[in-house]
Amino acid sequence: MTLSATSSGLLASLSDDLAEAVAHAGRSVVAVNGRRRFPASGLAWSADQVLTAAHVLERDTDLSITAPDGAQYPVHIVGGDRASDVALLRVDGGALTPIETQPAELKPGHLVLAVGRPGTPSPIASLGVVSSAGGTWRTAQGAVLDAYLRADVALLPGLSGGALADVQGRVVGMLSSQLAGGDPVAIPISTLDGLVQRILSGGSLKRAYLGVSTQPVELQEGLRQRLGIAQQSGLMLLGLEPGAPADKAGLLLGDIVLAIGGRTIEDGEALQMALGPDAVGRQTAIKVIRGGQVQEIAVTPAERPS
């Protein structure tokens, strides 16, 4: 082995930097004990609050966290949302070191570290690059979130709820193994901020609800030309729940939904995207085709019953 001094020094300092970054992020990553199998991870959001992935909590009581110094604290659930895979925990008497965050933009190609602590004294980590950073998306469980970070980090067992961190150990998001069907994805810090605010103000996350079942249908060329519409398909209403917002607003079976609040609806996913928390209780115009004519009907989505 005759590695040149330049190469040796460069790689050694890069290695040191990465290990430092893991240790730095690791100071604010805790173990979350809420399931039968080994623990998962969580982020110290404040001295006495921990944010984790909702799916790692298999029970509501007898929950605890293990701090980086090994101290164990009982916790209780403040609130959360399974579809967004977040849960906020209150740590009684907690004196945790809150995460240092980095809301700045990471671009595809930036190096990132996944850092967790599934009950191990030292953090665990994997290295990768950001594969994509994007805007509004729908999780596998149906929640609509306003941003995501994907990275090709290895999903070590117990990393869910842990940190996606930059190479200085600043947390850029919380990891979930569930939201994207098993691929690693992180909810960015700014989105987590919003989720935490909603949890703290309401205890849980609202989702808007119309009370319809639908089927995408293709719009015939002739019909589109006659009505002057560009979209290729719409959503036909096949079921209406009695007394639910759609029924109350006068929507009928067979109506073909084209748009909600100016947002074009061509499939079920677009409908879900249109029914975010902001839509609850807000009167919205739904554009439909009924009897061969386009009509607009005012609907006020309600909060989805749990």
Binding site: M1, L3, T6, S8, L18, A19, S122, A154, L156
Partner: protein, 198 residues
Amino acid sequence: MALDVLVRASAVSDAVAELSREVARSVVLVRGSRGSAGSGVIWDRPKLVITNNHVVHGQTAELVIADGRRLLGRVVRREPSLDLAALEVEHELEPRAQIGDSDALRVGDLVLAVGNPMGERNAPSLGIVSGQPDDVVRLSITLRPGNSGGALVNARGEVVGIPHLVAGSGLAMAVSTRTVARFLSGAPLQSGGDLIWI
């Protein structure tokens, strides 16, 4: 893009390539008697090559060293529970690997594995230490069959482990050099044990 960024990234890239080439000089291809193939490391002891036990099933193996020469290696010690085997050759082999301290590794440290996965000679894989090392080093790295028995080195090119197990997508484990030291420290021979001397 800023020129200094390009220069820095190129320097890292060049350094990894240089590290890969240098480490490969101490890595051999090991062909077992039953057609198994893996890797081995020219250890810092006379005439000694370390590999995984599961790479060499029989008493001998064929070693192909960096310059293409083929040599016969005889198993002088094996320990299935540690997945380690020591092969002795008749002549001195060069260059010997530099052996590092696996206990000094930290989570996040950069590591490079060099082996012969799927018949490719001296293929490097870059990764990091993913969990605090003990008898094994847990790795976030992509390895394939044939990496077994090869070299896992730290950023200074010192061998810190022998990759032996793929534990999932992007996850692998290596026997730490702490364990190799114990294996070689001449733990007493036990009759009827797993150790075989020839």
